[in-house]
Amino acid sequence: MLEIKNLHARIGDREILKGLSLTVKPGEVHAIMGPNGAGKSTLSYILAGKDDYEITEGEVLLNGQSILDLTPNERSVAGLFLAFQYPIEIPGVATMTFLKAALNSHRKAKGQDELTTPEFMKLVKGVAERLNITSDMLKRPVNVGFSGGEKKRAEIMQMALLQPSICILDETDSGLDIDALKVVSEGVNALRSPDRAFVVITHYQRLLDHIVPDIVHVLSDGRIVRTGGPELALDLEKNGYAAYVADAAA
């Protein structure tokens, strides 16, 4: 489903990804863990197509097709969804307007008709309810005046609406208390399916208690330095990243 081959990327003179490879199959949940500055957020931005980075080498395939030449919106409609670590506030743009525009863009790409307003409302309401998103929140401008937890829930709601095939969750647990973490995780788990995969990027193990990964990777200094099962995350929690960082440096 998602294949990253020997990806090298830099920002300015600084090389951040130094030959990262990763293969994610349908239905799998991968966790990418790593210390601060390992390149975790860079990876998520590069996959989504933010143009601050220069790809110097390597390839990224989504369902067998290279996406590096696609614009961010093309990647989105191709099925890639990024849940932002810091969802962006867009004052003046109503959440519903935004959601409708995004959803219709996806439907158009799939050759489907635009939803009528009642259909759309019904769809959003259903998804919103499951994530404890109040109608008041939907009336506000995109992410404006949302608490940290509300923003993350809104991200998951968008994920549920757009039905992506691969979801990148960038530090989705940051800034969440335990209750919010549960709601968000349940939202994500509800979306798990045999034909959808997840890449969960996180610094801490605690998110992985709720979204249990199939495979855990350790990212350090721009490379995957260790891959294992869920037990790897527990080991990291206990012993820290030091050993892996040293491995990478060696």
């Binding site: 919106n73 003046g92 995004a102």
Partner: protein, 491 residues
């Protein structure tokens, strides 16, 4: 044509007044020769069968105009206009328009399609001549029936709503009392020119205590055609009256007249309120800016009475050059003035627009919200004045003008003048200039919106405070229009 010229020359050589009536019946064609002098003014006045006082009023304007220079202070650049090389009067329809939609600029048609304008209306807007101008005539006939219904309803409430040329005859006392009382004859170069040669326009009078039962708009959207390049509008809201007036149309309209110099005067007496909304989308010219409309407009409202209120809302997306400062004179104590503006420039368009809030009365308040968006190679200037007079105790102004740049070949400029002569007045002004945030753009793209749609979405958010001031049906159309106006602004 030659005959016309001869006749005019002939008339020139003798006392025109004596020949006024004969003159009219003599003329087959409805075009005044090029150039502007007393005979042109008399010709126009005679054509309209105007009373002597109005002819004199026009002639006085012409005399003043001759001593004036074209203003050069605005940040607009255009080739010199030869004012003697223009026709100052032409009855509707003289030159041949396109014979069918096939002859119309495909870009224009594409825009109509996007706005969802019915085919028939497209033809009217594009000025298509079918056979013997059937399309336009049909439209007029259609509208006549609508107008009749409207008129009955308005008459029931005592509201007068008619062409100003008609009002001159049916309500001379009102016209005489108010015409030129807000924009004096010699106010500025273009207004003075308008005073000398104005073609036609609307007249509205809402009597004491009457709340005008409808938006004065639908009628006008068709009627507006052919009011000519020197439009003159006069709206009076008598004590306690309310009226909302809407001019323009979201559809881009071609116009054979390149120069437009309209004058709009609003008068609000005690406790009256006038809301005036404009959507201007005249032809901006081709990609090089050629052939677009020059729009030099003087719009001013006079809050003459206490507790009166005048509110201007404008959406400016068209014209090659826009030179426009809808203003409020806040004369009555406790009167209020508002200006909400969206000005979008793309291609080679040049916009120099803003407002003047002149606080004269006590406890007067004004609010200015201006949103400028420049894209392409355009230039977009906000120019505004907030003036607090010595006697305007307790006056209050709040101004917010934000500019957005799309691309680095355009310019966005902010030129506010703030003049306060009263210590108890509070004036607050804030302005920002920025581009669409990369983060917002990326976020929208990530959710699958194409770039242009993302821009339109963000820009619509940017202008939301102003959009909300528009009547409902216009708000929706305007949102679409914003997206269309910005097409081709990136990439």
């Amino acid at each position: 044509m030659a005959a016309v010229k001869e006749t005019v020359d002939h008339v020139l050589s003798i006392d025109v007044d004596k020949y006024k009536y004969g003159f009219v019946s003599d003329i087959e064609s409805d075009v005044a020769p090029k150039g502007l002098d007393e005979s042109t003014v008399r010709f126009i006045s005679a054509k309209k069968d105007e009373p002597e006082w109005l002819t004199e009023w026009r002639l006085e304007a012409l005399r003043r105009w001759r001593t004036m220079d074209e203003p050069t202070w605005a940040r607009v650049d255009y080739p010199p206009i030869d004012f003697q090389d223009l026709h100052y009067y032409s009855a509707p329809k003289k030159t041949a328009g396109p014979k069918s939609l096939d002859e119309v600029d495909p870009a224009l048609l594409e825009t109509y399609k996007k706005l969802g304008i019915p085919l028939k209306e497209q033809e009217i807007l594009a000025g298509v001549e079918k056979g013997d101008r059937l399309v336009a005539v049909d439209a007029v006939f259609d509208s006549v029936s609508v107008v009749t219904t409207f008129k009955a309803e308005l008459a029931k409430h005592g509201v007068i709503f008619c062409p100003i040329s008609e009002a001159v005859k049916t309500h001379p006392e009102l016209v005489k009392k108010y015409l030129g009382s807000v924009v004096p004859v010699s106010d500025n170069f273009y207004a003075t020119l308008n005073s000398a040669v104005f073609s036609d326009g609307s007249f509205v009078y809402v009597p004491k205590g009457v709340r005008c039962p409808m938006e004065l708009s639908t009628y006008f959207r068709i009627n507006e055609k052919n009011t000519g390049q020197f439009e003159r509008t006069l709206i009076i809201a008598d004590e306690g009256a309310y009226v909302s007036y809407l001019e323009g149309c979201t559809a881009p309209s071609r116009d054979e007249n390149q120069l437009h110099a309209a004058v709009v005067e609003l008068i609000a007496l005690d406790d009256a309120e006038i809301k005036y909304s404009t959507v201007q989308n005249w032809y901006p010219g081709d990609s090089e800016g050629k052939g677009g409309v020059f729009n030099f407009v003087t719009k001013r409202g006079d809050c003459r009475g206490k507790n009166s209120k005048i509110s201007w809302t404008q959406v400016e997306t068209g014209s090659a050059i826009t030179w426009k400062y809808p203003s409020c004179i806040l004369r009555g104590d406790n009167s209020r003035g508002e200006f909400y503006s969206i000005a979008i420039s793309n291609g080679r368009q040049q916009v120099d627009s803003g407002t003047k809030m002149i606080h004269l009365g006590k406890n007067t308040s004004s609010k200015i919200i201006s949103k400028g968006i420049s894209a392409g190679r355009s230039s977009n200037t906000y120019r505004g004045l907030v003036s607090i007079g010595r006697k305007a105790s307790g006056a209050r102004n709040f101004t917010n003008c934000d500019s957005l740049l799309i691309g680095n070949k355009c310019g966005a400029h902010t030129v506010p003048y703030i003049e306060s002569k009263n210590a108890s007045a509070i004036v607050e002004h804030e302005a920002t200039t920025s581009k669409i945030s990369d983060d917002q753009m990326f976020y929208c793209l990530q959710r699958g919106l194409p770039q242009e749609e993302a821009i339109a979405l963000i820009v619509n958010g940017f202008v939301k405070d102003v959009l909300q001031q528009l009547p409902m049906e216009f708000m929706v159309e305007t949102q679409k229009l914003i997206g269309i106006s910005l097409e081709g602004s990136v990439g």
